[in-house]
Amino acid sequence: MRRDYILEVKNLAVRLGNVSVIDNLSFKVKRGEILTIVGPNGAGKTVLLRTLLGFLPHQGEINWQKGVKIGYLPQGLTFLKVRDLPLSVKEFFLLKTKNENKIQRCLSLVGLPDKEIYTKRIGDLSGGQFQRMLIAWALINEPQVLLFDEPTTGVDIGGAKTIYSLLFNCWKEYNLTIILVTHDLNIVYKYSTNVLCLNKDRFCYGPPQNILTPEALKRIYGPEIKFYKHQH
């Protein structure tokens, strides 16, 4: 494998029970790239991420660069699961690292520098604060690759913008490679190096200018989709 590819996927096929979710999928991710994965609900986006992480049985090849450090935020890691947990922000980070200076640096980076937040119960954070905290949590052990599954679930539009620009800053700061599942096509257009559209066993792959054309989107999402290219 050439060194500048951090991930190579060849002829990947995933079946869940008797249903083929992903079939004959191939793509490569370069170091420093932002790859976004788009597609309608049920297209297999989350399945793909979980397969890349080695959680699901598959056919074909998934080759990560040797020794690469991966950070991951699963979908729907929302309040529901942690709301009732008597767990402070500090304690949540201590599950991952014992270095408290690092924790505070990381929280400052995502705009949560207050001491007050540090000792707050996770369930008492606002939706946006919670999501930013998760990004800090994913970054704390300095992974080279970040896998994000819809990081703005449960955050309003303004909040989502903040999350994405934050993610983009972290990408620059840490020289990250990001694989991102999102529904927000504007974000895809603005930040992605490459886009992978999934819909059952069909897929398309390439830079967003080539992929996010009205015709291609119709093929993937159906005729109702509307998307306008931003004029920069």
Binding site: L53, Y72, P74, K81, L85, P86, E91, K96, D124
Partner: protein, 255 residues
């Protein structure tokens, strides 16, 4: 050494540790699991009482056997575990009452901590101490697994291994708990102190500190009440736990 001191030492270690493990079980919504597991220790407790050995030693193999049977039957029948648990634990109770003279039934059902001798106590304290270290070691990983199994896997947590250690800990605690409060009431030993502690806690530190404190207060006061009134210690321990819970519910922090 006086039997009061031995009872207190056993009660403190078992009550405290059961409450500590209970904090994990409450998070995993498994507080009630200790109930049926406690019931199915009954044949073992019956044997121990008939032949005069430590009830926890009698109980332990039956808990483990029960867990394995439930697991095997689930694989085979695909019935929900709660249905299988009901079958297994009711059978355990039925078998025990075929053999157990009624006189000893009360001890089996609600425990009698005042029967412990020096060796029992030493064994309990050592087992509790080792188990405390194990639970403390697996605690962060168990919390992470509880938040998201995928998240735990990415962090390199071997979920099967941790769940196995956790189940084993439950088995041991139930066996020890039988000695303190009997087969009927073991669930309360893990469930109530942790529930009370959660009412009053906004972080893990106070949660995992308060629960054992409540467990220990209940065990000590239950045994002391027995000493002065001869009311059975097991039920008193549970009722003091309940009292603490009610007080905690009154003082519960507003969200």
């Amino acid at each position: 050494m006086s039997s009061l001191v031995l009872s207190l030492v056993s009660g403190i270690s078992i009550g405290g540790l059961a409450a500590y493990l209970g904090t994990l079980m409450l998070q995993k919504r498994m507080s009630l699991v200790a109930g049926p597991l406690g019931h199915l220790t009954l044949p073992g407790v019956a044997l121990a009482l008939l032949y005069g050995f430590d009830v926890s030693i009698g109980a332990f193999p039956f808990v483990i056997l029960g867990i394995i049977l439930i697991w095997l039957l689930e694989l085979r029948t695909k019935l929900p575990p709660e249905a299988l648990t009901a079958i297994i634990f009711a059978s355990g109770v039925a078998i025990a009452f075929l053999f157990l003279p009624l006189k000893q039934a009360e001890v089996a059902l609600v425990g009698d901590i005042t029967r412990v001798n020096l060796i029992d106590t030493i064994v309990s304290v050592i087992v509790c101490f080792v188990l405390f270290l194990v639970i403390r070691k697996i605690f962060p990983q168990m919390i992470l697994i509880n938040i998201s199994e995928d998240l735990a896997k990415v962090e390199g947590v071997d979920i099967k291994k941790y769940n196995f250690l956790y189940l084993l800990a439950i088995g041991i605690i139930v066996s020890l708990g039988v000695k303190l409060v009997g087969s009927l009431l073991t669930a309360a030993l893990v469930a109530i102190p942790s529930a009370a502690a959660r009412n009053l806690s906004k972080n893990l530190h106070s949660y995992t500190l308060l629960a054992p404190i409540f467990g220990i207060i209940s065990a000590v006061s239950g045994i002391l009440v027995y000493y002065f009134t001869k009311l059975p210690a097991g039920p008193i321990i549970i009722l003091i736990n309940t009292l603490i819970f009610v007080i905690s519910a009154i003082f519960k922090r507003k969200p």
